[in-house]
Subunit: 374 residues, 2 copies
């Protein structure tokens, strides 16, 4: 019987690489962007629309689904694939980042993370073992170990960063031992903040433990772009090259092409949908802010030439009006466009790697993506 999951590298262009991740629920061409479906749904967008936009894999948050509706409900309804009707691959994050770094009342000790439920206030604990059990019940194709994340450039200093990195390693080992399913891949997570030596040590030790894939955690929390490239590079020197690499939670288009250049394969970020809700659209020539009065009677589509259903049908003037009138259709249509922009960025990156012109493509994206549309 062939393995349920596999990852094959097909092309390289410098450190950038294109490949294919095969799962029991379909394949993913890498580099790949995973739309964020925290609760099992991308804001206002259906699975059919995501597939049409080019999505091949979605990301959900195991902890949030544990709180609501509960992994037992999801499991009884056919796992994430049956419950949500997105039948392609799913990656679940453990949710450790959300509960440790965002909930003010969380307490982290060697056992795990203890905190008050944001839903009903009751005491909850997430451990390396329960994080695996929840994700196995959800039935995602790719699961993440529980990690401890401290800000990359925080005040806490090197000692706290080292302690969190080392605890993440001990938790990773416990997570490995807790696994029961063979049809789900488990990713280890590199920590160490913005300290290159710590991240190198974390990557080496995580790689030695041996996981199916590896993630970069705790980035995008203050370090600059050049520092981040170095932090990715030192980790990649230590990690097994044949395994997929995932940069968690980042970012802007320029962040993505930078990380692809460093050899990252998987991405997720809420930016396309969050910007959409605020009326900010990504275009090839920079950001388009729908609230700007100059779009009041602009009959052009958001991005002329874009192949998304929003650009095929609707004008800047109409989207601006919907946004100002508080119509939920605004966020939906803007999200569809922004997700298509991100997914096309990935398809273009894969093509550029295949054609050995990724450096030029990356430079073009970096030049334009930060601009404001004029």
């Amino acid at each position: 019987m062939p393995p349920a999951l596999s990852f094959a590298l097909a092309q390289a262009d410098g450190a950038a690489r294109a490949g294919r991740l095969a799962t029991p629920h379909g394949s993913v061409d890498t580099p790949a962007f995973m739309p964020v479906a925290t609760y099992g749904a991308v804001r206002g967008v259906t699975p059919d629309e995501l597939a049409a936009a080019g999505a091949q894999i979605l990301l959900a948050n195991a902890y949030h689904l544990h709180e609501r509706p509960g992994e037992d409900v999801v499991a009884r309804c056919g796992g994430l694939h049956g419950f949500t009707s997105w039948r392609g691959p799913w990656l679940t994050d453990s949710g450790g980042y959300q509960v440790t770094s965002l909930a003010g009342s969380a307490r982290v000790d060697e056992d795990g993370v203890t905190f008050a439920s944001p839903v009903d206030g009751t005491r909850r604990q997430l451990t390396p073992e329960s994080a695996v059990a929840i994700q196995e019940a959800l039935g995602s194709d790719l699961a993440m170990v529980l990690d401890e994340c401290v800000p990359a450039t925080g005040e806490a200093g090197a000692a706290r960063g080292r302690a969190a990195m080392e605890r993440t390693l001990r938790w990773a080992e416990r997570a490995r031992r807790a696994r029961r399913r063979s049809d789900q891949w488990l990713f280890g997570i590199v920590q160490g903040g913005a300290d290159a030596a710590l991240r190198r040590a974390s990557a080496r030790a995580t790689g030695e433990l041996g996981f199916d894939g590896y993630a970069h955690g705790g980035l995008g929390l203050g370090e600059d772009a050049a520092a981040r490239r170095d932090l990715l590079a030192v980790a990649h020197e230590e990690l097994p090259a044949a395994a997929p690499r995932y940069l968690m939670g980042l970012g802007r288009p320029s962040d993505l092409v930078d990380a692809i250049a460093a050899g990252v394969d998987l991405f997720d970020c809420v930016l396309p949908t969050r910007h959409a809700r605020h009326g900010v659209l990504f275009t090839r020539d920079g950001l388009l802010r729908l609230r700007n009065a100059r779009y009041r009677d602009d009959a052009l589509p958001p991005e002329p030439g874009c192949d998304c259903p929003t650009c095929a049908r609707f004008s800047r003037a109409y989207l601006r009006h919907l946004l100002r009138a508080g119509e939920s259709l605004a966020g939906r249509l803007a999200s569809l466009h922004n997700l298509r922009f991100y997914l096309r960025l990935m398809a273009e990156s894969r093509a550029a790697i295949r054609d050995h012109r990724f450096d030029a493509y990356r430079a073009e994206v970096a030049l334009r993506s930060g601009a404001e549309l004029s």
Copy 2:
């Protein structure tokens, strides 16, 4: 040149009637339900989805579009059809009902309605003439005169109801004189509250003024179902039978089949989309309340056998989860189902009239639609 607009009655079954309204933007089979797109969009649903659900005509609110984005913007972007990309027929309400009966600070005198803008607080006036001008600029296919609406069973008594009815007639005459476009039909509005004699007088005088169609205003504000049937019937005795009849703002499925039995052709109501946002789904066997715990892991579609895209793909358990998690996809998917339910109710009504079995169909709907799904 054939007339831009026409209405042809095809079948009758008792007082119930089936027909076809032709407009420059397509035809509408009657009885017809018009999804409510106050600001030019049905909550979270695209024009393509509405068409697939069987919608043939939408309703927008002229006053709300006057406030935002302004009829000048809509006109420059191709009118309602071009601006919204719903290229089928549009009916616009004047918005008089909203500003006179819902805004606490409105003052009504012979000129029109004066009130503070809900958007920016500035003083605004809506007159019979400006209501026509706004709707002509928006380019709707069917427009409504400005009317004065007082509650059907209010405390104000007969004198106030008579005064409002008579003022509505004077305004209707001014609206007729203000018309400039020949490719838009103008509807007069029958008023008179819950007083059958007043409504009869209003219908007779409005019919004598002569409009392209006639609406029943000020119903659904407290009168019971039997009283409403009588109020519709007396007005229909006075109105020209060949013109389309529109019951404004109603209602539940049983209200709709009751009114069809009395000879109404057009309907609009926010109920399907409002119920959807609150997780209440219409089904053939009664109302399904998604928040009910019994649907926690119910893998059935909302309404087994329903041909809507929501029922084709999603379970009660998933919709319930989305609703509780505050995901906007919940409202969108529930709206699609509820609108399909209403639009199918109209298609079934037309078929029942054609087959001379409308009384039986109506009885079945009345029996089931008020129930709670068990």
